[in-house]
């Protein structure tokens, strides 16, 4: 057999996949892993959305309450602000600024955690 023929034959032999008895099971395992990864990703995205939605809703409600209190009673609003200040002081969050900053920080932290979890899932 001449050399070119041999190399061409070698390439053909390499191209010919071996007959493996568990080919179907292998394909099923890969598909299962794909589906699992997809499902986890969907859950993570969904959970992040829910948390972000809850946070937004809480913000909206609290700001509306605050406005209503304010309109009903200036004194009441002052109390509310005082209460918030107390909470911020208790958890040493006063230095961060307004409550919006805290919420923003929480939202960013949640997004970061969600991103980290997604990456971790990808890596695993």
């Amino acid at each position: 057999m001449a050399e070119p023929d041999f190399e061409a034959q070698l390439s053909r032999l390499f191209d010919r996949p071996p007959s493996l008895g568990d080919a179907e099971q292998f394909a099923a395992r890969v598909t299962q892993r794909l589906e699992r990864g997809w499902a986890i990703r969907r859950i993570a995205i969904g959970a992040t959305g829910v948390v972000a939605g809850l946070a937004a809703a809480a913000q909206l409600i609290s700001s509306r309450f605050s406005a209503e209190f304010s309109s009903m009673s200036h004194e009441g609003a002052q109390k509310l602000d005082l209460g918030l200040d107390k909470v911020l002081a208790r958890y040493d969050l006063g230095s961060l600024g307004s409550s919006e900053t805290v919420w923003l920080a929480v939202a960013l932290a949640l997004a970061a955690v969600a991103f980290a979890v997604t990456r971790l899932v990808d890596e695993v």
Partner: protein
């Protein structure tokens, strides 16, 4: 197609396009078509069956993530095999098992008696090669890498890759085609060297 239980049909490029749009069933069909080839290549590169399966799975997962990069210029099988080969090299480098020590030359030993049936058994023939020869031959002929691509990936000089390939081919020829000529330079070799 996504709602049907029937496996998708069509050319690999069409399935890849569907997979790029998120159709996991289409990608599953690609896995069914090319799974054995990828696993076979990894085994031929020297991976044990369990490791080969692990790496093949990882290669397909990466393949799915990067399927949008596959634009059908070459065969899907070749594209995914290159990914798998790169993963295998990364694995053996990580495990510090990539040692290119020269195997003792067994050229003086009498050639084992090989039956006609075994003569074309590539997998058995590859076992007679040293680790480096097997890796270089399988990368260049199985994953269709050029010599320079292999040299770069293995971090060894181009000349060393060529030597390993040549010695590996000589041994394979001696086993698989005992009557073959040894001196000719083939178009295939020129093509692979031409890549570099």
């Amino acid at each position: 197609m996504m709602g049907s239980d029937r496996p998708p049909t069509g050319h690999d490029v069409e399935l890849a396009a569907l997979a790029a749009a998120g159709d996991r069933k289409a990608f599953g069909e690609l896995v069914r078509r090319h799974g054995s080839a990828v696993r076979g290549l990894l085994r031929r590169l020297g991976a044990d069956p369990a490791t080969a399966d692990d790496i093949a799975q990882d290669a397909f997962m990466i393949g799915f993530e990067q399927i949008a990069d596959y634009r059908g210029e070459g065969a899907f099988g070749g594209w995914i095999k290159k990914t798998a080969a790169r993963l295998y090299l990364r694995r053996i480098k990580r495990d510090a098992r990539l040692v290119f020590a020269e195997a003792p030359d067994r050229g003086d030993e009498p050639a084992p008696q090989v039956s006609a049936a075994d003569r074309m058994d590539l997998d058995e023939a590859l076992k007679t090669l040293s680790r480096a020869e097997r890796l270089c031959v399988s990368l260049c002929y199985g994953a269709d890498w050029s010599h320079s691509e292999a040299a770069q990936a293995l971090n060894i000089p181009l000349g060393t890759v060529k030597s390993h390939v040549k010695r590996g081919l000589d041994k394979l020829r001696a086993r698989m085609a005992p009557g073959g000529g040894a001196g000719a330079v083939s178009n295939d070799s020129e093509r692979r060297e031409g890549h570099g």
